[in-house]
Structure formats: C-alpha cells, structure tokens
C-alpha cells in the first residue's frame, strides 16, 4: 500500500471552522447598516473619516509589529475593526489629524504595545476615543496650525450644536427629537449615534452568529434605563440618544476586554450602566459610554476571578466566591 505523508498532531482532529478572522469579518459586516446610515447623512465626510481611521489603523498595526519584529497580523482584520469602530464613534466633521492620532493611540498603544490582540486590557477603540477627549486641550495648538487643512465635503445639514443628551441636560426638552426619530434615524453626535435601529440590526446579527453574548448589552442598557428613571430623568432618551446602544453591542461585547463568564458579563453590563447613568446625570459631560467602558475594562481580571465557575460536581466547597479567591491565590 502507498505510504502517505501523515501529519501527527494532538486531538481534537476536527474544529468548528471558526476563526478570529471570520469573527472580525462578521463584526465589520454587522457595522454595515450604521455605516450606510452615516453615509446617507454625512456623505463623503463619513467615508473620509472611515478611510482615515482604517488606513491609520492598518499602517500602525503593520508598523508597530514590524518594529517589534513580529509578523504582521492584518489578516485577522482586528485593526480594521478598531479603525471602523473608532471612526464611527467620532462626529463626521472631526478633524482628520486628530482621527489619525486617536487611531494611532488605539491600535499602537492600547493594542500592539500591550502585546497584540488578546493581551490588551483596554478596548482599543474606546481607549482611542477617550484619549482624544482627555487630550483635547493638548491639541488646541495643533488644531490651530492644522485648521487650514481641515477638509469638509459638502454642507452637513445638521445643527452641529447640542446633541439630544446635551439638550436633556440643559433642560431644553422642548427641542428634543421624537423617540421614533431617534430610534430610526437622526443625525447628530457621533456617526454611530445616528440610528439605533441600524446599530441593533448589526447587534442582532452578531448575536445570531454567536459572537456576542446578550447579557452584556441587555444588562448595560437595562441598568441605564432603570437608574435614569429612578433618578428622575427621561430613561427613553438616555437609551435612544447617545452612544449607549452602540457601545453596549459593539464595545462592551469585545471579547478581549470584557469578562469571560456569563455572570461576569452581567456584572460588567450593570457596572457600565451605573457609570453611564452617573456620568450623564452628575458630571459635566453629557455622554459617558466610552468612559464607563474604559473604567470597567481594568476590573475585568477581578470580575473573572469573582465569577469563576464552580467545576462539575463541586458542591460543598466555596459557595461564596470571595472565599475561593483566597484559596486560588494562596
């Protein structure tokens, strides 16, 4: 009989066919509806920001890995997911040089410098977004110098003024758009805020594909709803306006930077929801989704330890998880 060239490798010898690349591709597909809405509202401005962020993300990932002597990993598409998420979290008229800086911080610092996909503690896109907000004062001089290079593609028919949440905060409820407008499509704020419906379609697709877990978004959004209502604000606006739905479905569900167990995901969702509500109601900033996620990210190792599942058949030992942590770290 012929002697075939046989491969020895450990079991199992079958796999589900899932790959990181496929999952990332599905995330990008899930973002298509909101990208389409953004393009309808903001035309070339949306396309331009998306291109700027994605090109920067790809170059940064490639360049950083080159510097660190690692093979490039563009084929896992994670750089493009970060680039696209960050772009969508920006307003359409955002200065492109700041978008470049934000993307560089996201991909270069938050991801590659932390060891690459899988080792990052912070959600890269969220990190980039928050860095841009916090560092904004530092960029004033830059903005002044770069202003002549600012690109605008056509006129945007949005009052670039107050977003619904800001109006809510200012007590100008009479100016607020209707719920249905907010839900279906309403320009204003960051691109991803323009349609809850489009975001939900993408989120449901990811749920259907089994890439994300319903617990995080449901508990995050539910907590914000309950808490804002309890604290006397209008819960519907807090859910429908701003980046809550987008952040809950696309950023709080990030594999790498959120808890690994179901219970942990619930805790993460609730914690994030509480922070969002508190920031929005008691801080100067009208929006708080990115901050909340970024604040929850470093708690993930702790949440993981607290929610470690009880192994099969284990009954008596360690009913209270805290006790188990002691036994674990001893």
């Amino acid at each position: 009989m012929e002697k075939p060239d046989l491969l020895y490798s450990p079991p199992p010898h079958l796999n589900s066919g899932d790959t990181v690349t496929r999952a990332m591709r599905d995330v990008l597909l899930a973002l298509v509806p909101i990208i389409i809405v953004s393009i309808i509202f903001y035309r070339l401005n949306a396309i331009f920001i998306l291109i700027v962020c994605n090109v920067t993300a790809a170059c940064t990932a490639w360049g950083m890995r080159k510097l660190m002597g690692k093979p490039h990993s563009l084929e896992d598409l994670s750089a493009f997911v970060t680039g696209t998420l960050l772009a969508l979290a920006l307003p359409p008229t955002f200065p492109w040089w700041l978008a470049v800086i934000g993307t560089f911080l996201a991909v270069g610092v938050a991801k590659e410098m932390c060891g690459g996909l899988g080792w990052n503690l912070f959600n890269p896109a969220v990190f980039g977004r928050v860095a841009l907000i916090i560092l904004a004062p530092a960029f004033v001089w830059l903005n002044a110098d770069m202003a002549p290079l600012h690109l605008r593609f056509g006129i945007i028919d949005v009052t670039s003024g107050a977003t619904p949440l800001a109006l809510l905060k200012l007590g100008q409820g009479q100016l607020l758009p209707s719920y249905s407008a907010l839900f279906i499509a309403h320009p204003g704020g960051s691109m991803a805020e323009s349609s809850v419906l489009a975001v939900l379609i993408g989120g449901l697709y990811l749920l259907f594909k089994g890439h994300i877990n319903w617990r995080t978004p449901v508990f995050a959004i539910g907590t914000v709803f309950a808490l804002t209502m309890l604290l006397g604000s209008n819960p519907f606006y807090h859910v429908l306006a701003g980046g809550l739905v987008f952040g809950s479905f696309f950023m709080a569900t990030d594999w790498v930077t959120t808890p690994i167990t179901d219970a942990g995901k619930i805790i993460f969702g609730i914690g994030m929801g509480i922070l969002v509500a508190l920031i929005r109601l008691y801080q100067a900033a009208p929006e708080g989704v990115a901050f909340s996620i970024l604040l929850m990210n470093p708690l993930v190792p702790l949440i993981d330890a607290l929610t470690r599942p009880r192994k099969f058949g284990q009954i008596v030992e360690a009913r209270i998880p805290v006790i188990r942590i002691k036994t674990v770290s001893k």
């Binding site: 046989l6 899988g118 599942p309």
Partner: protein, 439 residues
C-alpha cells in the same frame, strides 16, 4: 422523544452516514499480528510465551499479578516470531508479541453456554478478568476492576453507554442493532456483579433504530430502561452520561461509584456476556473504518493485533490521499505517523481525513471569546488553563483545575484562535504528575 443531557458541550457534524447502515463484517486475517502487552490502563503484562512457541486462538500470552491490569490473549493461531517493544498507537513503544498466523483460526468455546444466574459474583469477576475484558469505548480500563466497587459504595444503577458521541464512529450503533440480546445479557451480568437494581441504556437520538431495537429487548427485562439522550458531544463521557441519565454529579476526582453508578460501553457489555457465558477471551473487537479517504468504509470485527495497514487494504485502500489517519474518534483519537501500528482493545475506529479537513492553520493568542468556557462540560476555564500551561506556569494551571480536565477536546474544537488546548493540558498534567512523584 424526551431527551436528557448535560450542561456545556458542542455539536460537531456527525459524519456517520458513511457506515451507520453497514452490517459488521469480518476481513481476511493478516500474515502477522502484533499484540502489545499493555493495552489497558494499569500495570503492563509480562509475556507468558517465548519466541518460537506456537499459540492457539485465545491463549494467554501476557498477564500480570496486579489487580488493575488485564491479561492479553493471542488473537490467532500460529507461532511467536518476536517479543520486542514496537510502536503503539499513542506514539510510544510497548512490549509486543508478534505472531505469524498459521493453521486453523476458529475459536471454539470449551464449555456450553452458562446461565449467568447460576454463577456467583466472584466467579463473574474472575471470568471477566481472565477474558481480559477492558472498556472498549476507548479508555481501556480493566472491566473486572469496575465490577468490584468499594464495599462502602453501594451501586444501584448500571448505565450502558450507547451514546457513541464521537463523530464518524458507528460500531456501537451496529452492535446495538445486531446484538441487542448480548448487550442486555452483559448489562444483566454487570448488574448482578455490582448488586445494582436498575439498568439504563443511554442512546443519543440520532440512532432511532437502535433506540427501538434496544427498547424491544430491554422491555422484556426487569427494571431496564432505554434513555434517549440529546445528540451532543461528549454525551458519552462517564460523568456527563451519569448526569444526563441519573441527574447525579460525580464529585471532582471521584469515581462513578461515589454516586452509586457504573457505566459500561455497549461493546464492553457484549464482551462481558461472552466472557462469562462462553469463556471467550477478548481477542477481537468491532470498530469502524471510515472517513473521506477510505475507498470502502466498513464496520469490522477485527482480531486484536491486526496492523492498521492490513485493515485499510481490506477496505479497498485509500480513495484519496489522507493527511491524517486517526485511531479512535476524531475528537479524542490519536493521529498516526505510521500505519504499521496494530489495532488494540481500545481502538474504536480508524478515521482517514484528507488535507482539506486537516487544519494546519497557525494558532494565535487567546482572544478571550469565551467559547471554550461555554463548551467545557467540566465547567473549567480552558482559556486560563491554556494560557498558564503555554507559559509553563503549571502551578497556576493546577489551581485552575487542569487535573479535572478529561481531554474531551470540546474547548479546542470551538477555539477560533485554534489553540492546541488539549496538548497544553496534557503537558501540564504530565509535569504536575511528575512533580508529585518527585515530591
């Protein structure tokens, strides 16, 4: 059909249609058989024959005084041409007896069939041990040991495992269809040996014909019930099966006897029946030869020691070039680098996969997707164990319960980063056990 199951697990494609309607066949004997003297969990056997000696079918050629061990018999008549360490399916070498096949190859019982009800428990265990019966589902644990539960752990339920949850394999399915009486007989004998009252026969619902046939036969018996189970991997794993059938959880590190259960595979039940009533040693077994690369996939009754290459020839050789030949099922079996290794007691199948089905993709960092956590039927955190084991941090791996992992491979099956988790766990376990021995 109401189905029971366990928590966790995965749904791999079943790939059983190639062979599940093919009756068990016999094949021509090879010129030589290679019979390893350590085909079971426990102490290896020492040879009881010498080079040059002639042997008969069913003659003992290796045995051990240890309790956890099982004698090894010649599967053919002929003479011994060599006794030397030879390649074994698990990538090691095992002292093996090589027998040149010659003469009359039929085995005839030297007793009229006995009625097990007339045999006392001790004699049942003796007969099972002398016949060299081990678990035929793959683990190859000596059966007489399982039939001797600790005195302080009464057993009330015998579960016959007809799940066959590994993709591709259909030998247990065929055994249930073709020899239901013997399965029931073996179950009754096991029930008597451990003093249990109930017998359950767990079968996944993807084998409705087997469920029907077994129900018919079991229906005639006292306290014997067929339990349809959800099609899910690893439904046939001992602890998961006990959970599904009895809703009892075997505690970590404990045996099924802890919760009053005994699990026997259907093939083992038949072997028990033959050993006790006929005195037939375990020198042949049923296995499935299948996969996209096999010209004529078959369910075969094969003499132990038959080289894989001979089995494959008898199945028409390869229809396309295989990249992997697996002994056992594709989830837990061993990939072979040579086809000279022999079929042993624990070999439930030979599966040949083409290049297109073999993933040689590079693996990556864990991306913490949590899919392995959802899949693990032991409720472990395979992601963390894998990371620690990869980093050679075996203390941490142990604290994350790597020793409770039974290497079902569900976690590695779902991992989108294609991490070789089972390999990591094996390394960690080996290192932890080595340290314990040193300590």
């Amino acid at each position: 059909m109401a189905t029971r199951t366990f928590a966790g697990g995965i749904h791999p494609p079943e790939y059983k249609e190639q062979t599940n309607s093919l009756p068990v066949e016999q094949i021509d004997l090879p010129q030589q058989v290679i019979i390893p003297l350590h085909q079971h969990t426990g102490a290896p056997c020492t040879p009881k024959v010498n080079v040059g000696e002639s042997v008969t079918v069913g003659q003992v050629i290796g045995d051990s005084d240890a309790f956890i061990s099982a004698p090894v018999h010649s599967s053919v008549a002929g003479h011994v041409v060599a006794i030397e360490p030879l390649p074994y399916f698990n990538n090691t070498r095992v002292l093996s007896v090589v027998i040149e096949v010659e003469g009359d190859q039929v085995w005839v019982p030297d007793q009229d069939p006995l009625d097990y009800r007339d045999i006392n428990v001790e004699d049942i265990r003796q007969a099972v041990r002398q016949a060299g019966v081990v678990g035929l589902g793959g683990a190859a644990f000596p059966t007489h040991v399982k039939l001797t539960p600790p005195k302080n752990k009464p057993i009330d339920s015998v579960i016959i495992n007809g799940c066959e949850c590994e993709p591709y394999l259909t030998c247990d399915h065929r055994i249930m269809l073709e020899r239901p009486q013997d399965v029931v007989l073996g179950a009754n004998i096991a029930r008597k040996a451990v003093g249990a009252s109930k017998v359950y026969i767990g079968i996944e619902t993807n084998k409705p014909d087997a469920i029907r046939v077994m129900q018919e036969v079991a229906g005639e018996e006292q306290d014997m019930e067929v339990v349809p189970l959800e099609v899910k991997y690893p439904e046939g794993a001992e602890k998961q099966l006990i959970k599904a059938v009895l809703d009892r959880r075997v505690p970590p590190g404990k045996l099924p006897s802890e919760v009053g259960a005994l699990v026997q595979n259907v093939g083992t039940a038949v072997a028990i029946a033959e050993a006790v009533t006929l005195g037939k040693p375990l020198f042949e077994r049923v296995l499935t030869v299948t996969g996209p690369c096999i010209a004529q996939p078959k369910n075969l009754k094969i003499r132990i020691g038959t080289p894989v290459s001979h089995v494959l020839e008898q199945c028409g050789g390869f229809s396309q070039t295989p990249r992997k030949v697996i002994m056992g099922g594709p989830m837990t079996g061993w990939a072979q680098s040579s086809l000279d290794v022999p079929v042993v007691k624990g070999t439930s199948g030979i599966v040949a996969l083409p290049e297109s089905m073999v993933s040689e993709a590079k693996w990556h960092n864990c991306v913490r997707c949590g899919k392995c956590v959802k899949a693990c039927p032991m409720f472990l955190l395979p992601n963390f164990i894998g990371m620690y084991a990869e980093a050679h941090n075996y203390d941490k791996a142990e604290k994350f319960d790597v020793l409770d992992c039974f290497e079902c491979g569900a976690c590695a099956y779902v991992c989108p980063s294609r991490r070789p988790l089972v390999q990591f766990f094996r390394n960690a376990k080996a290192e932890i056990m080595a340290r314990r021995r040193r300590a």
